[in-house]
Symmetry: C2
Subunit: 578 residues, 2 copies
């Protein structure tokens, strides 16, 4: 180490510096040396000489933002593209869990993600995908499995710092659990009782919540009501508050009970148009401030507490010896990010910023993942054996306020072994295995706040990422499907035979190869198409992509058919009338 | 793992349980399984069956106490003896730094300490002694050195979790520092930037404090004034509050600025009579409560924050999945400890407790460490070359409120090459190298609040643990010295030719082989003798044992002579009058 501590590399003068311990801003001179804060000088002694000076007058300095629960894939770009853009959001450290690519490409996908982020302008750490696939092969077909052995190998990979969200929360707390992640937790805890394990447990409470915690899975980022939140805090669960959990009663609970130490803000999934037009973790923090949280506390929970949760105790504060990761902002309330510094080096300047034109591909190896034969119109006929009759067909209710799909039954007619669904008020929904494993095709229906006209298709279909097609007519469904197959994956909307929105996702069928700006523009058009065609949801496209997600209640459609995700069993498409 | 989570090993019913997150007591049923808390049941559902039930009615349950900065040797007993007793103080985890034995016996001493604690009723972790000896051989002679390589070896020893207090705080922040600990920190941080490094930096402030922090040394447990404390908190130093730092203004600062997250209570050095009659960490917590800290906050800082500082995130709270380390107390204010449980197993019950009669020796290897020849009366004559004259003799001022010895000069006569000191109001103080390395003998004087009559001697003489003898007459000095040599080490007080107090410390000349009870009784008599002979200090014997401690200001006497510890240089015993 260069121990001449009388010289610094950089001095930021006269800036209002956030102190994480006093939770206050005070005017200070801040010296930086070798990527770390050297001295936060309150007396402005000028004792230290420096090579470079930034005038911080009129600006506020806060630690760089740290997002410890998120999935880069959800922004539909690769890690390098994500990081190149999100320096503008003040991010300086993230922990990403690449379980989307893991479900398609397995360990090689995870490793490609890690490599893609190696030269990023900030630190990208990774969480080990713990449930790939979430359910066993009787429930869904993923492109790959992550075994206990894979997890152990990943654990020792440079940049991997925790086990990502354990999602089989109902299964793992049972005596007869034999899941791979259950095995991994046993092994890892026998080696290291402090290994960080992230959770996912919507609606879990009381004794069941305690069991989940007992296994050492002690964070959660799901949407909750106040009682669920209270139980999590009081039982020592580290709470991760994402955009959709910014309920006023939850924010009030945190404020009134002084729970700032025990939670952090996270983003989980940020679609590219939201990222482009609203922001990232900065946006979540801004919203919390608007809901009444003091900026000094909201900043703490996006910097200090996430760093500590991940044992990244070298950062998240502006103090001597800590990494010089910081942002200059115009005002703590607006949190408008002017400049971002990583290890003392400026990586973003709003006045100088222009989008990079890079191609952010992960390489040709990841562009051939849509393994289905030529789309065939016959695919969209629903064959029902037996005589002509009326049957009770299971339907997923799409609700604009939630990603939970409640089940309902709708009577439909069977004629000539074909289901007559067009006038049922329901949209045909087809899931096709696309990993070249078994060619499964399954059929279901949606109603409610989903599409009303035309069709949509996606190869981004959490978490197994098979292809989902939904539509009110077969022709549009076929065109939507053809579109995404041609683009090596993607999301498409079609109406009256015309493509109304399309986003190519050639990287594993999950991510584009371009910048966040390009992805954001494409996605904006796609969302507009979805909404124009009748989809009503705060995150319509995402909701569509979650219709297969088996860790969310209550009825979901995978390539294996309908799954009752509350009772962990497959259920048939229809029942006979009594 | 036994995953049948419908059965528990132990249930404690109806007890008022401390919640570290809400900082409140609430009546709960607490289930324990396989050494961990399984369920903190607020609804008392009785859903879980159990093998054993404890009625907690009328009692309060708090997490077991965690002391992360302390030296077992200071209690003058070995680790096994210490732990067997201090379960009664509610300790369930400690981090001990064995630099006393390291200064005498080196790495083999540290390893013997670790082994001694292996079967203790609670977890004893160790910090690596970082400054053995504190200063180089030109300043003092220790029995052993701990090199950078030794520290690296110790780092990988089971049970070792951090680097212990870095005490060469003036040296290590300088460009030209070449200390072993400086090398170690460079290496360890290149491998693991999160490795915990504990500090010791009395009086350090401003730019110098920032430099110390910049090196990653980010805790401190020394005595400080309010401004020093404020600077530590605001610069991200983890503050460890020991008994002697319980100043009202410091406690008020913590309360008024809500600094509970950033400090813990510790004990540092607890002499055996204090341990026996007042307690240990429990005593520090009780005192803080008496000074106005709410019990709910004081408990937090003796359980939650110390666990977190040491990354022992598996303990320090009563919550599902955490180690079932807890105490039942009668009342949060009195903190009277009734029962202590470690990993769900009762290790202390006040109603059943009786002292063990064990011999707690570390083995014969550690009983032969007083390597000096037969004490000789000639030793106590101070020879000064040159003609008869008056000279200015350097004297250490002993102050009842501090361990800082300010320097002063006292005129004395030289006659026939012998210093005539008896009527000077100063006591002769002799330090003799006792490790068999060079036979150094050095001379100095004390005045002020030290002994007024008789003599005292000790082989426990921080940190090099040479032998110190102080007296107002040569005969008593000789007898005190003979006494501790015969007992293979110890501390003795003599007056008028009679032994007035004696504690044998045959283990490395630092520790007894008996129980805390025996050590406490012996030490009580010793302290009484010191005080009867005029020593005035809140910790008279300890103050005597610190007269050689080179990391405390301002003038100290080592076997090499007087050291000006503020300017890091040796200074002569006397100066000629001008």
């Amino acid at each position: 180490m260069n121990k001449d501590l009388t010289r610094a590399d950089l001095l930021v003068t006269n800036t209002k510096v956030y102190n994480s311990y006093t939770k206050a801003f005070n005017e200070r001179d801040v010296y930086i040396k070798d990527g770390k804060f050297l001295y936060i000088d309150e007396k402005k002694t000028g004792e230290i000489t420096t090579d470079s000076i930034v005038n911080g007058k009129g600006r506020y300095m806060i630690p760089g933002l740290i997002d410890i629960h998120m999935h880069i894939e959800s922004s539909l770009v690769t890690p390098a593209a994500f990081a190149d853009y999100t320096v503008s959001n003040g991010l300086t450290t993230i922990v990403s869990e690449p379980h989307e690519i893991a479900n398609v490409c397995g360990v090689r996908g995870i490793k490609a993600m890690i490599e893609s982020g190696r030269n990023a302008p900030y630190d990208i750490y990774y969480a080990i995908p713990s449930n790939v696939p979430i359910m066993g092969p009787e429930f869904e077909t993923a492109g790959a499995e992550i075994s206990c052995e894979d997890m152990l190998e990943l654990k020792d990979t440079d940049g991997v710092i925790c086990l990502g969200e354990v999602m089989n929360y109902k299964q793992i707390i049972e005596k007869d659990d034999t899941s791979e992640v259950g095995k991994f937790i046993d092994i890892v805890h026998s080696q290291d009782p402090y290994y960080i394990i992230e959770g996912h447990c919507p609606q879990l409470k009381d004794n069941e919540l305690a069991r989940f915690l007992y296994l050492g899975i002690n964070s959660d980022h799901c949407d909750h009501d106040l009682e669920e939140i209270r139980q999590r805090f009081e039982n020592g669960m580290f709470v991760q508050i994402q955009d959709l959990m910014l309920h006023q009663d939850v924010i009030d609970y945190i404020i009134n009970n002084n729970m700032y130490e025990y939670f952090s803000f996270v983003t989980d999934d940020t679609f590219p148009d939201i990222l482009l037009h609203q922001g990232h973790l900065d946006n979540v923090v801004r919203k919390a401030i608007k809901m009444g949280m003091k900026p000094e506390m909201a900043i703490y929970s996006a910097t200090y507490t996430p760093a500590r949760r991940m044992n990244l105790t070298d950062r998240g504060v502006i103090a001597p010896g800590k990494l010089a990761d910081f942002i200059l902002i115009d005002d703590p309330y607006s949190l408008n990010i002017l400049e971002t510094y990583k290890k003392g080096r400026k990586v973003f300047d709003r006045e100088l910023y222009h989008p990079k034109e890079d191609n952010y591909s992960l390489g040709e190896d990841f562009k051939d993942t849509i393994m289905i034969s030529k789309p065939d119109p016959e695919l969209f006929r629903v064959h029902i054996p037996g005589p002509d009759r009326r049957i009770k067909v299971r339907v997923m209710q799409v609700n604009r306020n939630s990603n939970v799909n409640l089940p309902l039954f709708v009577e439909m007619e069977v004629k000539d072994n074909l289901l007559q669904w067009h006038d049922s008020g329901c949209l045909l929904t087809v899931v096709m295995e696309r990993h070249g494993r078994n060619g499964h095709v399954s059929y279901g229906f949606c109603t409610g706040d989903c599409l009303k006209s035309g069709a949509a298709a996606s190869s981004l279909t959490h978490d197994s990422h098979n292809i989902i097609v939904m539509g009110e007519n077969e022709e549009d469904m076929l065109k939507a499907l053809e579109t995404i197959v041609e683009s090596h994956g993607g999301i498409a909307a079609v109406e009256n035979g015309k493509l109304t929105g399309h986003m190519a996702l050639p990287v594993a069928g999950l991510m584009s190869e371009g910048s966040v700006e390009k992805a954001g523009q494409d996605f904006t058009l796609l969302r507009q198409a979805f909404e124009k065609q009748g989809y009503v949801h705060r995150n319509s496209v995402m909701n569509f992509c979650l219709l297969s997600l088996t860790c969310v209640p209550a009825l979901k459609l995978t390539d294996c058919g309908y799954m009752d995700t509350e009772n962990l069993k497959m259920v048939p498409l229809y029942e006979e009338l009594q």
